[in-house]
């Protein structure tokens, strides 16, 4: 029989996080045997670019599409059209509108991510606490915005932390860097920068080091061990969190494959990850974020 072909559409090519997810998906495909991953996406994080990728996947009549969306709304029409053509569509990592996919796989539960970021910030700030700022990706990033909301929800529980500003680095290294420098200038007493984006956290750490603020200002948030190992050593980052992108890609691939085999989508068996259950809106979550620090970051730096 022809192999089951699954298009894995990511936010942007070249991002270490998604490369790791691809490896996971490949692993799943190998495990399934009769399946094939088509890894694709734009180079910059735009919805229009993803639409073009999805268009060519549709033209190749893939069996399923698993997408991490740059924009939940803009992708909805094309994904609906894909579903009309009999293609199974799921979203993972960063979701799309409910009716434009069958299920959505959250990397972790959003409230948990928000709470985790704030907890990490509180840990580095110590009991004395201090000022905190958020460095996000683009102002339109779906999951970043959700996590920031979640952070703000739990913030009242940490009275020692004071959120002074939220800035946007657009997932561009130089812009994130410049925004960080501006933050450091504007808030001389700043204690923590939370960057829930793997691009932003690297740039922020670099900026803190270049400004000679290591020890005064700490960067935390979501990032990849391979990219942050150096900064953990340098001391600008004490700890950060991330879920395992390999597992995420693996699960997304498994789920997509299962959906091409049968229509069951309340609880889907995802190979070594076990069964993942989805609520009535089709939302499911994979696992809790995992915290990395000097003790374990080098071990994982070689993996993703």
């Amino acid at each position: 029989a022809d192999p089951v072909r699954v298009g894995l559409v990511v936010k942007s090519l070249g991002n270490g996080f998604f490369e790791a997810a691809r490896d996971g998906a490949m692993e799943a495909a190998k495990e399934i045997g009769n399946a094939e991953v088509i890894y694709t996406g734009p180079t910059s994080t735009t919805a229009e670019g993803q639409i073009e990728s999805i268009n060519s996947l549709m033209a190749q009549r893939v069996d399923a599409i698993a997408v991490s969306a740059n924009d939940p709304d803009a992708l909805a029409p094309i994904l609906k059209r894909a579903m009309d053509r009999g293609i199974k569509v799921i979203s993972w990592d960063s979701g799309v509108a409910d009716d434009a996919r069958i299920v959505h796989l959250n990397p972790s539960s959003n409230p948990l991510i928000g709470a985790m970021c704030i907890k990490l910030a509180a840990d580095v700030a110590g009991d004395a606490g201090g000022e905190m700022a958020i460095l996000s990706a683009t102002p339109t990033s779906t999951n970043q915005n959700i996590w920031i909301d979640e952070m703000k929800k739990v913030l009242p529980d940490y009275s020692q932390l004071k959120l002074v500003d939220t800035v946007y680095g657009d997932d561009l290294a130089d812009k994130s860097y410049r925004e960080t420098v501006a933050l450091l200038k504007k808030y001389p007493d700043l204690k923590v920068i939370v960057a829930p984006t793997s691009v932003g956290i690297v740039a922020a750490a670099q900026a803190v080091e270049d400004q000679g603020k290591v020890g005064d200002v700490f960067v935390t948030g979501l990032g990849l061990p391979s990219e942050l190992a150096g900064h953990v050593d340098a001391g600008s980052v004490k700890s950060f969190a991330i879920w395992n992108p390999i597992d995420l890609g693996y699960s997304a691939m498994m789920i997509a494959y299962q959906l091409t085999q049968n229509d069951e989508h309340m609880s889907i068996k995802a190979g070594r990850m076990g069964a993942i259950s989805f609520d009535k809106d089709g939302n499911g979550a994979m696992s809790d974020p995992f915290v990395y620090d000097a003790s374990n970051v080098h071990k994982f730096a070689d993996i993703f």
């Binding site: 090519l13 073009e52 060519s56 549709m58 033209a59 190749q60 709304d73 803009a74 094309i78 339109t140």
Partner: protein, 337 residues
């Protein structure tokens, strides 16, 4: 060599038509190559629905390319079209929250585009500043306004009827967007090549001063062209917004260069004065075919851009070298006679 005019053959513009034919033949050859290659590399290529889907990737840009061709022939350029799309789309999104219906939305999108184009044209003609300079500024300005209005927000839930413009089909696999493009291409072909307006556009592009001294209201024509480009950016905004069903300030980022690439690939002289709509029309398909074919092979967009970049240089460079070769040969045979 030169003769009295009485003795001249009565050939209407035979000479330049020949030249024109040669240019478009070259493009057609490229199209044929692309088409053939595509049929070879992918069994999915010749599927009507796939082809129809593929047109969505370029139709809106192609629609802007039509008036842009006229503008470039008239020695101007507009780099702010993509930002104009963002501005018009934001206006539509805002109007939608106020409860505007599909037709009103479309009208508002086109109106905002027209105004943006008019402002470009007004600044350029009023203060006599090169267009490239002004539109680099308004490119930031218009998109900046979109960011001010929308920030990290998004406009969505457009009325379901509104989806027709960008997603609807008129007949079988023929989408509304694409049909609109075909009709507009015909209109622009006639406008540029058969009307007084088109002739004046060429005159302005070849020598604006002499055009002015010939009684052509150069400023008004330029202003009109900028407004026209704005209007079409507005139309593209309607189609795109309808197609993706949402508005963010980053919509259509980077399109200006893609539109200009299409126009230049179509043989329009970037320095003004020469070009045809047929050329632009073929170039649109050439780019569409090349990117679609590579999409079928899952070539990343960035790698496709290597090909479009090379294609651009190749298609512009080949005739130049070819002409030089022909001239050299003609010279040789002339001096040998």
């Amino acid at each position: 060599m030169t003769k009295d005019i009485k003795d001249l053959p009565d050939n209407l513009n035979g000479d330049w038509r020949n030249k024109l034919m040669r240019w478009e033949t070259l493009l057609m050859v490229f199209v044929a190559i692309a088409f053939f290659t595509n049929t070879q590399i992918s069994p999915y290529f010749l599927d009507p629905w796939s082809l129809s889907d593929a047109t969505f990737n370029f139709t809106e840009k192609a629609i802007i390319a039509l008036p842009m061709a006229l503008l470039i022939i008239a020695r101007d350029i507009d780099l702010s079209v993509a930002s104009t799309i963002a501005l018009a789309s934001v206006a539509m999104g805002f109007a939608n929250t106020m409860g505007a219906g599909p037709i009103e939305l479309a009208l508002i999108g086109m109106a905002v585009g027209t105004v943006a184009g008019f402002i470009n044209g007004w600044i350029i003609t009023r203060f006599d500043i090169p267009a490239i300079v002004v539109t680099i500024g308004t490119m930031s300005l218009y998109r900046g306004i979109a960011y001010i209005v929308l920030g990290d927000d998004v406009y969505r839930s457009y009325p379901s009827d509104f989806a027709f413009f960008g997603q609807g089909y008129v007949w079988g696999v023929l989408s509304f967007e694409f049909l609109l493009f075909l009709c507009l291409a015909v209109v622009f072909g006639i406008l540029l090549h058969k009307t007084t307006f088109g002739r004046r556009v060429y005159a302005i592009g070849n020598n604006p001063t002499a055009a002015l001294f010939s009684g052509i209201n150069v400023k008004r024509h330029r202003l009109f062209l900028f407004t026209l480009v704005g209007l079409f950016a507005g139309i593209a905004a309607v189609l795109l917004t309808s197609r993706i069903g949402s508005t963010r300030p980053s919509i259509a980022m980077g399109w200006e260069l893609e539109v200009i690439t299409m126009v230049v690939l179509g043989g329009v002289n970037i320095l003004g004065g020469a070009g045809s709509i047929v050329g632009v029309f073929i170039a649109v398909f050439l780019m569409g075919l090349v990117t679609f074919g590579m999409g079928l092979m899952n070539v990343p967009g960035i790698v496709m851009s290597i090909f479009t970049g090379c294609l651009l240089i190749l298609v512009i460079g080949t005739p130049i070298i070819w002409r030089r070769f022909l001239n050299a040969r003609k010279m040789r045979s002339n001096s040998g006679e």
